[in-house]
Symmetry: C3
Subunit: 451 residues, 3 copies
């Protein structure tokens, strides 16, 4: 109860110093790439009189905006299900994402867009920054309501850093395919967040906090998040795929997988309830598991029915997780996972990695055509001689690496966050906006109701 949750110094200082650091680093490093700068005029002419419409902007911008909505409205509103934590859910998610994308542009830029001492950015960098931040939004779901805004920012700083290193290992060293991020975003994000939540566990919280639940209206707010995530997930999984058929295919596969998840989620949700009634928690979350699990394989020749199968399985696994596994983790390990990220991102993420590995290993020139196979798996340069089955092995290794990064990184970051200087809330103030927010006078609301 007597924890110091006073933010008046800590939060402004951290926001200001970090934002100033961003400005300096952007000033030193970040410039427009050749499609966002005036070089484009030259390039068009040289390259066979290209049309402006072939600027990467027009290939990716609509998907970028959809991804942007997923990160800010999707994740933000999905977490508003808590009855008294709506401000914190949507606004801390907003804060972490707004900071995270800046730091991600730098981190990912150094690894992937660094030329002559400068990071050259275009629309694809914006998408990748949103992706990176997506993994932080996931992890935030694990600690939602139990941390201070300063802790959120500290976690973001470290997690974006670790994400970028892990991504670089997977994409550049293991030469793995993961366009929708089953491994880099979901598996890493979920297990990182769970590890942090475990380190920060609060044994006394387990006697159920009366604020940790939804009310009727907050469940409907959460459905705004669910639906925008669900609808735009095809854009998420196809946003950075190769132009043309790969992007097209990724959207179709994701559409199919998600549709399938919805049906099995509803089936299980009803089947596991004594009176056969549906549970909004399942609808809000497990319906999305299909999108997570085709993240890696979406652009591959997974086939539409393959996608349906993936969604089918994940809807089941995820709903069962919410019903049986989450309570078990809390009671046995003391691992409290506010949003059930283990069920929505953890298990489906791993399944997605496996689906990707198997689909890659099974790839043949018959299915992909010879140039198609090369284009799909980037079997060029150093990797020109890699076979699909080897690729499958490396894909599997990618899962393990992501898990390792998550567990080790999460442990270190969790320990840092445990330092008693970040202003975390007392147990009885968890899941309650009033600790960090000016709350409007509720008396007026009652007055309204009584009119």
């Amino acid at each position: 109860m007597n924890k110091n949750t006073f933010m008046r110094l800590k939060l402004p200082i951290i926001c200001f110093t970090w934002e100033i650091a961003m400005i300096i680093l952007f000033g030193v490093f970040v410039r427009y790439n050749h499609e966002a700068g005036p070089e484009w005029l030259e390039e068009k002419k040289k390259d066979n009189n290209k049309s402006d419409i072939e600027n990467d902007f027009y290939f990716r911008y609509p998907s970028f905006q959809d991804v942007h909505v997923m990160i800010f409205v999707g994740f933000g509103f999905l977490m508003t299900f808590l009855q008294k934590y709506g401000f914190g859910s949507v606004a801390f998610n907003f804060m972490l994402a707004a900071f995270g994308i800046q730091w991600a542009i730098l981190m990912q830029g150094w690894f992937h867009s660094f030329e002559d001492g400068k990071i050259l950015i275009g629309v694809e960098n914006l998408i990748n920054a949103d992706f990176c931040v997506g993994s932080v939004c996931i992890a935030f779901g694990g600690v939602l309501g139990k941390v201070s805004p300063v802790q959120v920012l500290v976690m973001t700083l470290f997690q974006v850093t670790l994400f970028s290193v892990n991504e670089w290992v997977l994409l550049n060293q293991l030469h793995v395919i993961d366009a929708g991020g089953s491994m880099t975003i979901h598996t890493f994000g979920a297990y990182f967040g769970l590890t942090v939540a475990f380190i920060l566990r609060r044994p006394k919280l387990n006697e159920r906090n009366h604020n940790e639940g939804s009310v009727y209206h907050s469940d409907i707010f959460a459905m705004i998040g669910t639906l925008f995530l669900w609808m735009y997930w095809p854009s998420f999984n196809s946003a950075v795929s190769n132009h043309g058929d790969a992007q097209h295919r990724a959207a179709i596969n994701t559409y199919c997988s998600l549709a399938s998840s919805v049906l099995t989620t509803i089936a299980i949700s009803s089947a596991v309830n004594k009176t056969g009634k549906l549970d909004m928690v399942h609808i809000q979350n497990a319906t999305l598991a299909g999108g997570v699990a085709v993240g890696t394989a979406a652009e591959m020749m997974l086939t539409p029915y393959g996608s349906l199968i993936v969604g089918f399985i994940c809807g089941i696994v995820s709903t069962l997780g919410y019903k049986y596994l989450s309570p078990l983790l809390t009671s046995k390990l003391g691992l409290h996972d506010t949003c059930g990220i283990h069920n929505l991102h953890g298990m489906p993420g791993i399944i997605g990695g496996i689906v990707g590995a198997v689909t890659a290993a099974a790839a043949t020139e018959d299915v992909y055509t010879a140039p198609g196979l090369i284009a799909m798996f980037r079997f060029e340069g150093d990797w020109a001689n890699r076979s699909p089955s080897t690729q499958g092995g490396y894909q599997a290794a990618g899962i393990c690496v992501s898990l390792a990064f998550a567990f080790v990184g999460g442990t270190i970051v969790g320990l840092i966050l445990k330092l008693p200087i970040w202003g975390e809330p007392a147990d009885e103030n968890c899941f309650e906006d009033a600790v960090y927010w000016e709350i409007p006078n509720e008396e007026e609301e009652v007055e309204t109701s009584n009119q």
Copy 2:
């Protein structure tokens, strides 16, 4: 009161068996089309070194995503106006649409995308599946709150089937233009739903159920649905139009028609109220009538002022329908139409069909240019000699066929749904989530308010 609304067996069984059926049928039939598969690489080269940006994906994907939002958020939230049926509105709509799009891809695929024993799908199939499901969402509005989730799924199965046959008759046999679906989606969907609602009528419900109304917050939730439908309707009506000017024109016409509807809706809403006050039901619904009514003619040379006139009329008709016709239908026929789909989709849909017929009949080479006229009405092959006035006649026939399918199909499906095995709610449980949902403990909400 003693109706058996126990879903624990029925709902899981139907979800599982149908989803498995989808997987099998997709496995046998559904493959990527040449723009979503590796054949694209070949095709580009052959076809004059096409650019990737000419893949149909880039022509249609942004519109697809807008349509997707209309189906899931638009229809889903529009129906959340009921004070105690928010879960059912948004989540049963989610369920029916997620199942419906799968079945629609198959049904429409057999009719329109069947080659060498396979259904070849691309982004246009996804849009068309969403369109088909849109007609089910409409019909769902007629029975909202009065049916069980199992009934919803059964209705979806049959309605998607009937929709696809009707659509095939119109587009392929009558060779009719209906890109925005005034006839195939709105007229068919509304009168199908009304027929089902009539067959399932509950005489005792007419003594106004105290749950059948909105509260302040639920009306604002519903406006989320209204606005996303309104804003994205230009994408809806242009999503499957011909590339280029047709798609461009369809968006402009829809934009104009919708703007006009808003003004006349507000005018009538105020004029028919004794104290001149506005009614949210009208704003939530009748403002959309203009979009419905330019569904058929949107891609034609309707002209911007023609679009304004259509919207003008439909805003009036629709609002008057809500005010005077709906109560009459309930009291005289016992036809209870929860969301007023007759006013929003029924009458404006028929008007839209007529506008399309007249606009087609009036088409001239002067206005369209000779190649433009052929491109617009597909006067090719067997239809090379059809004149615009004949086309107008066939368009009018399309309205009648759609109505016939709706009435006959609706009657049969209504009778099937009347079987006492689907777990429909008792009269006193209508419009109430608690029958099929675990409802969060409302005591906590009161507690919040009293703080």
Copy 3:
């Protein structure tokens, strides 16, 4: 108290006559342009066998839809923060925007798209109409809750007219760059609205009206508006930029500036609160200031770090404005600004104009390349010899002209709105939907809570 707020004659008459006027004027003047009409087929062939994808529709339609969402959902929901004015916020905004876009197509069309006696429209006209209406939405925020729907429509008519003249002076006479509208939309809109609000000031309202505040749920509704504005702002600032790199760059700059605003808003919000707690009003509004302030310079070579700096400053200025300046304006001048448009659009708009002037003045061929500089600032025809520094001067003049239009226009329009014939609400009915709306029976809500 005894004000006549009876709308039954006034509102319908104004809606009908104005909509009929729109139909007549559209009938006389508005036609499709060459990319939305059948001429497109010809044009493609002539112009080197262009592809359909080079139709302007595909360059701008996704951005158009995003802008559309900002106007209707963004502004509409941002204003739902008031506890008892949700209907009026979202629906009057809907009404004014639906009327305004029609009138804007005409006004802007006469100035910019007039050929051979006709206004030829395409997707760019739709965007510009939305932009114009955006300035009315801003001004509406200043008078929210204090005016009747008739007053809103009258204001819209005049403001759209003045906007179009001001825009013509800036773009065509001063030859100024303002793609994202820092000057034409934000500065003009805000100061116009503030002037109107000042003329209509209600001295007795200053004793704080108990309805003028938010409740917990209304603050979350408002975040829907905030987030859609924030997420889609890159589309807003790039929607009418030149094809290719300019559009690409405008999106990047806006993305960066907005991210930076969020951090400094949070910092200041916490720092100015005695207990360090955050205030939702700041998060809802000041986080957007960065988007406003890069409106003019977004497509210039502002550089990503330049954008961060702009957002950094504006987050601070805007939050401080909400905390200190707004109360001062109310107490000293009697200027009551319901949504704080001075802080969100006024000051950041002027800053944006200055940033644009400085960035233009600093432009060099080194940075832009010679053809790039010409393309950027349209140094062609009569302006072929203008230098960047001269351009900077004209940009600065644009700010002053916009302010002059706002003050003079706002005064005249304010005086017109002060006439006692428009049905404005009494002081005690301000910020309350019940004056102009049928409100659902709240008794039922209480009943729900007590279950």
